[in-house]
Amino acid sequence: MSSTVAVVDYGMGNLRSVSKALEHVVSANQRVLVSSNRDEIADAERIVFPGQGAARDCMAQLKELKLDEVVLQAASEKPFLGVCMGMQVLMAHSEENQGVDCMNLYAGDVRAFADEALHAQMQHLKIPHMGWNNVSHRRAHPLWQGIDDNKRFYFVHSYYVDPENEAIIAGATDYGIEFVSAIANKNVFAAQFHPEKSASDGLQLLRNFCRWNGGI
């Protein structure tokens, strides 16, 4: 029986690279489906929740398409992978766009790099944080399988998550400050970096996700 990996399409950014990378790593009995249909998302065995652009627009689109509830539901019950903005909007609130309330799956804020970068001006740190940076594992996790500690992944973002519950931190990265670059809780894993653009280690993480049953 075929099993579906659904990529949630809420009009925020181009999902082609995510779906192409998933197609590259899925098992023979799995199919990748890019969808904005609530029933299809609810029926899928695995959910990938990507996102690009501004937090305000992402939240507005999720509500407009009535996808917020089905995404939260998925995050409570099946293997779920948030990527970039799809990680940030899982938090309670974002500093972006003069403040945006997000999905509130996890307590904590999404913060801007700006002040820290100013502080670290001697290092000429640029915003967005763009390029390949190290991700240090903060706990063992099935999605890190086959990926060495401190490998580099591709990032492009100006904001980062700051969860209140430190137990959900799965990875951290240094850019002037140390920030949380991956979180994991039960069946949810979310990354600030783009596995779909992170060459072989990124593909390995996606491969792990496609074989993960959501347990630890």
């Binding site: 690279s17 763009m130 190290n134």
Partner: protein
């Protein structure tokens, strides 16, 4: 550990083939874009940039197909530039699989286009390409001006002011080419690169003039570039990407090896 400086091989694509000329003449064939991109990915390129130098707009679709084919099998960031004039062009390239688009001439003639494009698709997708030439005479304070049409037409725009303006308008990155150095193999224009990199908050890619590996390292250490772009030294197998990375790392630069 920190963010790595990036090496970006640039593929000038004409009629579906990778080509390389010296200062926009003397074009040589450097292969099939998909094969070249795959080789660079295997060698550890951090990103790949395609510049569509097709003369006629009738052939614009060709570059979209090239991007599509490459994006199906190469999983690192891809940038496409050349002839991007409208938000539709931007979307077409992103839909084909590009992660970023580089806007050059169209930004000079219509700066609002940069604002519109970054509003629609996000600054992280918008690279503004700047072609600059030194215009100060010997002995004068250094000054660079923006040129269009492959370096033939001056615009009267000061390069540093222009870069700042483009960032205000939503550029997420600047691709800076020295028209004086492009194709010369004598190294980047380091004072220009440094001046722009210090003037803007977004990452700057240095381009134009790489002939040996020290030039790449100099672009970072002296030019303060966040990424370095080169074409001919890689296309004609003078150096591999991996050799370039090892060389830069040996000079104390943070690299993804």
């Amino acid at each position: 550990m920190a963010l790595a400086k990036r090496i970006i091989p640039c593929l000038d694509v004409k009629n579906g083939r990778v080509v390389k000329g010296v200062q926009f003449v003397d074009i040589r064939d450097a292969g099939n874009p998909v094969d070249v991109a795959r080789r660079y990915d295997e060698e550890g390129a951090d990103e790949i940039t395609f510049l569509d130098i097709t003369a006629s707009s009738d052939d614009r679709e060709t570059i979209a197909h090239v991007v599509e084919e490459v994006a199906n099998e190469v999983f690192i960031p891809l940038t496409v530039g050349g002839g991007i004039r409208s938000v539709d062009d931007v979307r077409r390239m992103l839909n084909a699989g590009a992660d970023k688009v580089a806007i050059n001439t169209a930004a000079v003639f219509n700066p609002e286009f940069v604002r519109e494009a970054s509003d629609k698709v996000g600054s992280q997708c918008i690279v503004v390409a700047i072609d600059a030439k030194q215009v100060s005479a010997q002995g004068e304070a250094l000054r660079w001006e923006i040129f269009t049409h492959g370096g033939r037409k001056p615009t009267g725009l000061d390069a540093i002011e222009w870069a700042k303006k483009m960032v205000d308008y939503g550029a997420g990155e600047i691709l800076l080419t020295s028209m004086d150095r492009d194709g010369t193999k004598i190294g980047f224009d380091l004072p220009l690169t440094r001046a722009i990199s210090e003037a803007v908050s977004v990452p700057v890619i240095a381009s134009g003039g790489v002939g040996k590996l020290d030039h790449l390292a100099d672009g970072v250490t002296e030019g303060l570039a966040d990424a370095v772009l080169a074409a001919s030294i890689f296309h004609f197998a003078e150096y591999t990407i991996q050799q370039a990375k090892q060389h830069m790392a040996a000079r104390g630069i943070e690299m993804r090896l």
